[in-house]
C-alpha cells in the first residue's frame, strides 16, 4: 500500500503533464498560421477552393475550437495520434518504429558522459591544481562550447573518411543479415560515433560535477576518518568518496534526459541515425504536423518516465530520503 501511495501521485502528475503537452500542441496548431489542411493541400501541390473546404471538413476543422480540442484529446487518449500524410501511416506506428533507436543513442551517450566524465573528474580531483585537472577543465569547456553538429561532422571526417574505422550512417548496415548477437555487435559498432558526439557535450558537466563533489567529499569528516584508519588511498577515493559523490550525478542525469533528446535531433541528422530526432527533422521539413506533435508528445513522455526512474534510483541510492514521499 505504501508503495502505491508513492507511485499513484506520480502517475497522476505524469498524466497531467502529458495532458498539458497535448493542450500545448493543440494551441500551437491553432496559433500558427495555416493548418493541417494547408499542409495537405501543399503536399498535394494545391487544390481548388471546394476541395480545400472538403479537406477542412473531413478533418473537423470547421467545428468549434472546444469541440476540436476534446476530439483531439479523446483521440490521443485512445492511442490515435493522427495520420501522417507524409509517411502515409498512422503517426503512432511511425514513432514507435523510431523510439528504440533514440533510446539506445541517448542512453549510450548518457552512460558514456557519466562514466568517462566521472572518471576524469575524480582523477582530476585528486590533484585539483595539477596539470591533468586543468587539461580536464579545458577539454570539458571545449566539448561544451563546440556546436554538437560540428563535433559530429569533425568525427565523421576523421573516423569515417580519413581513418575509416567506423560506419558513417544508420544503425545497421543495409546488407546486414545476421542473428541477434551479431545484430547487437553491429548496432554497437554503428553507435560509437553518434554516442561519442552526443556524450561529449555532457562529459563536461559530469567531470566538473564529480570533481567538485569529490573535493567536497574528500574534505568531509568520514573520509578523514577513513584515511586516519590507514585505508589505502585508492580505497578511500573509489569506495567511500565516490559513492557519495554519485548522488548529484544521478540527479543531473535525470534532468538532462530532455536536453539529450534535443541534442539527439542534431546528432541523428548528422549520422542518419533512424531515431525520433531524424523523424522530427524529416517531418518538420515536410510540415507533417501530426508527426511533429506526436514526436513532441512522445519525447515528453520519455522525459517524464526518465524523471520518475531517476527519482526511484535516487531513493535506492540514498537511504536518507527513502522515508519521504
Amino acid at each position: 500500500m505504501r508503495a502505491l501511495g508513492v507511485i499513484l501521485p506520480k502517475l497522476v502528475y505524469a498524466v497531467g503533464m502529458l495532458l498539458a503537452v497535448v493542450v500545448l500542441n493543440f494551441l500551437l496548431l491553432q496559433i500558427a498560421p495555416g493548418d493541417i489542411a494547408d499542409t495537405i493541400i501543399g503536399e498535394m501541390g494545391g487544390a481548388t477552393a471546394e476541395i480545400e473546404a472538403e479537406i477542412r471538413a473531413s478533418y473537423g476543422l470547421d467545428r468549434p475550437l472546444a469541440e476540436q480540442l476534446l476530439v483531439y484529446i479523446g483521440n490521443i487518449a485512445s492511442g490515435d495520434l493522427g495520420y501522417s500524410y507524409y509517411f502515409n501511416r498512422p503517426v503512432l506506428e511511425v514513432i514507435l518504429g523510431r523510439v528504440p533507436a533514440t533510446l539506445i543513442l541517448v542512453i549510450a551517450a548518457l552512460l558514456f558522459a557519466i562514466v568517462a566524465g566521472t572518471f576524469l573528474g575524480v582523477v582530476a580531483a585528486r590533484r585539483p591544481n595539477g596539470l591533468f585537472s586543468h587539461v580536464v577543465t579545458v577539454l570539458a569547456l571545449v566539448g561544451y562550447s563546440a556546436p554538437v553538429f560540428w563535433t559530429g561532422l569533425m568525427l565523421l571526417i576523421l573516423f569515417a573518411s580519413i581513418v575509416p574505422v567506423f560506419p558513417v550512417s544508420g544503425m545497421v548496415s543495409p546488407v546486414f543479415d545476421g542473428g541477434l548477437a551479431a545484430r547487437v555487435v553491429e548496432i554497437a559498432y554503428h553507435l560509437v560515433l553518434p554516442a561519442l558526439t552526443l556524450g561529449i557535450i555532457y562529459l563536461a558537466q559530469y567531470s566538473r560535477l564529480s570533481r567538485a563533489s569529490m573535493l567536497d567529499v574528500l574534505g568531509a569528516d568520514y573520509i578523514r576518518t577513513a584515511r586516519a584508519k590507514g585505508l589505502a588511498e585508492g580505497v578511500v577515493v573509489y569506495k567511500h568518496a565516490l559513492r557519495n559523490a554519485i548522488l548529484p550525478v544521478v540527479t543531473i542525469a535525470g534532468l538532462q534526459f530532455g536536453q539529450l533528446f534535443a541534442g539527439a535531433v542534431l546528432v541523428e541528422t548528422v549520422f542518419n541515425w533512424p531515431g525520433m530526432g531524424l523523424l522530427a527533422y524529416d517531418s518538420i521539413l515536410r510540415r507533417d504536423t501530426p508527426t511533429i506533435m506526436g514526436v513532441l508528445l512522445f519525447s515528453a513522455l520519455l522525459v517524464i518516465l526518465a524523471n520518475m526512474a531517476t527519482d526511484f534510483a535516487y531513493r535506492l541510492i540514498d537511504p536518507r530520503i527513502r522515508g519521504r514521499a
Binding site: 498535394m44 549520422f271 542518419n272
Partner: protein
C-alpha cells in the same frame, strides 16, 4: 576519371533525338518489336553474375510505393521494380514490349490495342489479365497528378483476358510513353480494386505487382528491401537477388557511404561537388545517362499576374541581367548545362533556335527605364521577393541567393523568402502568393505529359506544377493543342519549335539550367540502368560482378 563518361557527353542532343524521332515514327511497327523483346530471356544478360545484393542510396523519402497515384522519383524507383507496365523504353526512346506482347495504335490514332504476354502472374500467383490493365488505367487516369497523360482515354474494352482496347477521343501521340513503367504500373485489381480510395489504399505501402522484384520490407524514411521475383515473366531475370534502397537524408553522409563501399549506386545525385568527388574515386564512376525522359529543368518562374511582372519587358530585363554561364560553370562546377527553353535537349522536339538572353546589364537597365521603372535615390526601382523549394539547395536556394546581388545591379531589391518546409512553398506558389520563385519541373518524356501543363491557359489552376505563372497566350494554346494530337513526328516537331520560340520570348519562365542528375555507381555494376527512364525502369538486367 570516370567522370569523362558522363560530364563530357554534352553534345548528346543529336544522337538521342534522331533515334527517338525515328522510333516514334514507326507507329504500327511496334508489334513487330515484340519478338525482339528485351534480349534478356535468351542470352545470359547477367554475364554469369547471378545473385548478390545491390545497395542503392536515395536521399529522397517516398510516401508510398505506388507510382499509379503518386508522381516523383522517390516512389518511381522502387515502384518500377515492383510493378510492370505494358511498355518500357530503351536508351534511344524506342518502345520495347514489356508486360504487353504487342501494343498497336490504329491509323487514325484513336484505338490502341494492348495484348498481354501469356502466363504472367502477380507476386501472389494470380494471373495478370486485361481486367487488371483496364482497372489500372482507370485508376491512374482518375488519380495521377499528370492529368493530360490519359485524358483522351474515353473507354476501355476487354474482349478477352489478354486483350485491352483503349478508345481515345483524339489522337494521342504520347500514349506509348504514358505506358512507361513509372507512369503505368499494372496493379492487381483483386488487391487495389476493393473500393477503397486509391490514393490512400493501404496496399500502396505493401504493394503487389508483377515486376522483377517483390517487396520484403518498407520502413518509412529508412529503407526499402526488394527481393528477386522467382516467377518473373522474363526468364532468367532479374540478375540480382536483392535490392536494398537505403534512405540517407544527409548528402555528405551519402557520399561517404558510397566511398566506403557501403552502397553500390546513387541515382539522382545532383550536387555538383558530390558528383565530382565521387567520380574521382577509383572504385566509382558517374554517368548522366538515364535521365533523358525525366528532362529536369531548373527555372525561375514569374507571377505574370502581378505588377510589375505582368510587363513582359520587366521579365525580359531580369532575364538579361542573369549570367547563366556563371550558374552552370561556377556555381555548379560545369557539371550542369544551361537550359534554353521549355523542352530539354534530350527530347526529339528540342530546338536551340530561341532568344538566348546573353547577359547584358546595360540593355536590362535601359529596358526597365523605358518600361517606366526609374531608379530611386538608393538605386532601387522596385522590390520583389523570391521563393524556392527547400531542401534542394544547390539548385534552388543557392540560385535564389545568387539572384539577390545579381538583380541589385538592375535596381531590383530582391528579398529571399525562406519556406521552412515543402508544403509551405507549395501552398504559396499554388495560391499565387509569390513574385518570383525557383522551381524544378520535369518534361516526363513527352511534352503532352510534362510540358503543356505549364503554359496552357486552361491549366491555370491553384496547383503547383501547372500554369501557376498565370501565363496566357492564345497562339501558344493553339500550337500546343495541335501538337497534342499531331501524329506526324516532323509536323509535331515544327509546332513545338514555334511554341518554344514564343514562350522563350514571352518569358513567363526564365529557364536556368538542366539538373545535373547523375547516377554514381560502383564499377562492379554491370548493365547500368541507362535507358531514357534510367532507374525509374526495371533493373532486371543489372548485375554485380563477382
Amino acid at each position: 576519371m570516370a567522370m569523362r563518361q558522363g560530364a563530357l557527353r554534352k553534345g548528346r542532343t543529336t544522337g538521342a533525338a534522331r533515334g527517338a524521332a525515328g522510333a516514334m515514327a514507326g507507329l504500327a511497327a511496334i508489334g513487330l518489336l515484340a519478338a525482339a523483346g528485351p534480349a534478356a530471356a535468351q542470352d545470359d544478360v547477367c554475364a554469369g553474375n547471378k545473385g548478390g545484393t545491390m545497395v542503392v542510396t536515395s536521399t529522397q523519402v517516398p510516401r508510398h510505393l505506388n507510382p499509379a497515384v503518386q508522381s516523383g522519383v522517390a516512389t518511381a524507383v522502387p515502384g518500377t521494380q515492383i510493378f510492370a507496365s505494358p511498355l518500357r523504353f530503351d536508351k534511344d526512346w524506342k518502345p520495347v514490349p514489356y508486360l504487353a506482347e504487342t501494343v498497336d495504335v490504329s491509323a487514325d490514332g484513336k484505338t490502341v490495342t494492348i495484348v498481354l504476354r501469356d502466363g504472367v502472374t502477380f507476386h501472389d500467383g494470380k494471373p495478370v489479365t486485361s481486367e487488371d490493365v483496364k482497372f489500372s488505367i482507370e485508376t491512374i487516369k482518375a488519380n495521377h497528378p499528370f492529368q493530360t497523360m490519359l485524358a483522351p482515354v474515353e473507354s476501355i474494352d476487354t474482349p478477352d483476358a489478354r486483350t485491352t482496347v483503349l478508345h481515345l477521343s483524339q489522337p494521342h501521340p504520347a500514349i506509348r510513353l504514358a505506358m512507361s513503367p513509372a507512369l503505368m504500373p499494372i496493379m492487381p485489381k483483386h488487391v487495389f480494386g476493393d473500393g477503397q480510395d486509391a490514393k490512400t489504399h493501404p496496399a500502396n505501402n505493401d504493394p503487389i505487382g508483377s515486376g522483377p522484384f517483390k517487396l520484403v520490407e518498407f520502413v518509412p524514411a529508412e529503407r526499402i528491401v526488394l527481393e528477386r521475383n522467382p516467377d518473373y515473366f522474363l526468364k532468367g531475370l532479374p540478375c540480382l537477388d536483392r535490392i536494398v534502397i537505403n534512405i540517407v537524408r544527409d548528402s555528405a553522409n551519402a557520399v561517404l557511404s558510397l566511398e566506403r563501399g557501403e552502397s553500390h549506386m546513387q541515382p539522382f545525385t545532383v550536387n555538383s561537388r558530390d558528383i565530382k568527388r565521387l567520380a574521382e574515386d577509383e572504385d566509382l564512376a558517374a554517368t548522366r545517362d538515364g535521365y533523358a525522359a525525366v528532362g529536369p529543368i531548373n527555372w525561375l518562374a514569374f507571377n505574370t499576374r502581378k505588377s510589375p511582372l505582368d510587363n513582359r519587358d520587366v521579365r525580359k530585363a531580369i532575364a538579361f541581367a542573369v549570367d547563366r554561364g556563371f550558374i552552370t560553370d561556377k556555381l555548379q562546377q560545369g557539371i550542369a548545362a544551361r537550359a534554353t527553353g521549355p523542352i530539354t535537349p534530350d527530347s526529339p522536339f528540342y530546338t536551340a533556335d530561341v532568344e538566348l538572353y546573353e547577359k547584358d546589364l546595360d540593355k536590362a537597365n535601359a529596358m526597365l527605364d523605358a518600361a517606366g521603372f526609374p531608379k530611386n535615390a538608393d538605386g532601387i526601382r522596385f522590390p520583389l521577393t523570391i521563393d524556392y523549394i527547400p531542401g534542394v539547395d544547390e539548385q534552388q536556394k543557392n540560385i535564389a541567393e545568387f539572384l539577390k546581388p545579381t538583380l541589385k545591379q538592375i535596381g531590383v531589391d530582391l528579398n529571399v523568402r525562406a519556406a521552412p518546409d515543402f508544403p509551405t512553398w507549395a501552398k504559396r506558389v499554388a495560391g499565387g502568393d509569390f513574385d518570383l520563385t525557383m522551381d524544378i519541373v520535369f518534361n516526363w518524356g513527352d511534352p503532352v505529359i510534362g510540358v503543356h501543363r505549364t503554359y496552357l491557359t486552361d491549366n491555370i489552376r491553384p496547383q503547383i506544377w501547372t500554369n501557376t505563372q498565370g501565363y496566357s497566350n492564345p497562339k501558344v494554346d493553339e500550337l500546343l493543342t495541335q501538337a497534342g494530337v499531331e501524329l506526324d513526328e516532323a509536323r509535331r516537331a515544327d509546332l513545338y519549335r514555334e511554341f518554344q520560340k514564343i514562350v522563350v520570348d514571352d518569358v513567363p519562365i526564365f529557364f536556368i539550367n538542366l539538373l545535373p542528375y547523375h547516377t554514381v555507381y560502383d564499377k562492379k555494376i554491370g548493365n547500368l540502368p541507362v535507358t531514357i527512364w534510367g532507374t525509374m525502369s526495371p533493373m532486371d538486367e543489372v548485375y554485380l560482378a563477382k
